[in-house]
């Protein structure tokens, strides 16, 4: 199959996701301008950071006047899922040249990762199709994201104040949060992360978000480990030496 066909099929595979990506980009653009960020910075962040949830979190913190170090750290913590994606897709990217791998890394998103990995696992495509399928999917998302955020910026300047539009930011995060609470440990991660951020909000430099999130991850990990150990201990009934 030609590169063009492969890229087209990749792009087509992400179209269902655009229903979520486009409104997300609009919300980002509208609220960022609504909260007083300069439009050029808002648009540039979409191209430079290119990670929706992190961008929305950054806008929220900048608008509240959080220190720059906290904003950057929050962006990185929100994006900690990317090394997981990179590790699982890296074997399929290995034959690409370093330049193409760098391009693919920059274009990586939740959605591009999901559709590409599904295609790779189900159909075991050759190297060329792997590259072009990913580029088609990822570039379609990239273009949609830039167009949606710029549209949001233009619309945001026209939106009258007093509509509580800033509430769209936590609502977007909430919509992403709910499917991530899938068992007891992940629910504990959410409770500790959310509750801890509120309880620690008197701490200086707005560090409570990052600290509470990391403590939440730690507690959830320990709880999961304890869960895993319990049935083994019961089964071994004292015979287990570990």
């Amino acid at each position: 199959m030609s590169a063009r066909t492969d890229a087209f099929e990749g792009a087509r595979s992400v179209t269902p996701f655009l229903l979520g990506v486009v409104p997300f980009g609009l919300v980002y653009g509208v609220t960022a301008v609504d909260r007083g960020l300069p439009p050029t910075v808002v648009a540039a962040m979409s191209a430079i950071v290119f990670a929706g949830a992190a961008q929305l979190a950054a806008v929220d913190l900048v608008a509240r006047g959080a220190p720059a170090v906290v904003v950057v750290t929050t962006i990185l913590v929100v994006n900690l899922r990317y090394p997981m994606y990179a590790a699982s897709i890296a074997p399929y990217f290995r034959p690409f040249s370093a330049r193409w791998r760098a391009v693919c890394a920059y274009l990586m998103t939740d959605q591009a990762y999901a559709v590409a990995l599904t295609e790779y696992r189900e159909n075991d495509p050759d190297v060329d199709r792997r590259l072009w399928y990913f580029l088609g999917a990822a570039l379609a998302l990239w273009i949609s994201w830039q167009v949606a955020t710029i549209t949001g910026i233009l619309v945001g300047a026209q939106v009258p104040p007093g509509l509580s539009l800033e509430f769209a930011i936590p609502l977007t995060f909430l919509a992403l949060l709910v499917p991530n609470v899938e068992d007891v440990p992940s629910a504990i991660a959410a409770v500790v992360g959310g509750g801890g951020t509120v309880l620690g909000s008197n701490l200086p430099y707005d560090v409570s978000l990052v600290v509470a999130a990391l403590v939440g991850v730690l507690v959830a990990t320990l709880v999961e480990r304890a869960q895993d150990d319990t049935p083994e201990c019961a089964a071994a009934d004292g015979g287990d030496e570990s």
Binding site: P23, F50, V71, V72, Y85, A105, L174, V178, A189
Partner: protein, 114 residues
């Protein structure tokens, strides 16, 4: 927003470079470390839940954090809390981001109008 424009650009560039480093990590480093060690991978699974909740919860309550670093903040009611609860129900039932935002905004406007 009272943020120095130069600092804001610095935040964007640093956030972008850091994000690219995280995205490129295992894709660019070939052959040395092929996989994230199992214990770390299991912990990373909890990052979205913890971070997203940390972003949501303070935004749906009225938090007065002016009491000094050693005091607990005063947490009060906000109409955003019940609106968010309704939105969470929509998110759980539909897994649809635009629907969640729409219902949450409508719920907030309704509660504020009461």
């Amino acid at each position: 927003m009272n943020y120095d424009l130069g600092v804001l650009w610095l935040v964007v560039v640093a956030g972008g470079l850091g994000t690219l480093a995280l995205k490129a990590s295992f894709i660019m480093v070939v052959g040395r470390v092929d996989e994230i060690p199992e214990p770390i991978e299991r912990s990373l699974r909890f990052v979205p839940a913890a971070v997203l909740a940390a972003l949501v919860v303070p935004s749906v309550l009225t938090v007065d954090a002016t009491g000094g670093a050693l005091a607990l903040p005063t947490v009060g009611y906000s109409p955003k809390f019940p609106a968010a609860a309704v939105a969470a129900l929509v998110a759980w039932k539909t897994k649809n981001v635009p629907a969640t935002i729409a219902v949450g905004m409508l719920a907030l406007w309704a509660l504020e109008a009461l």
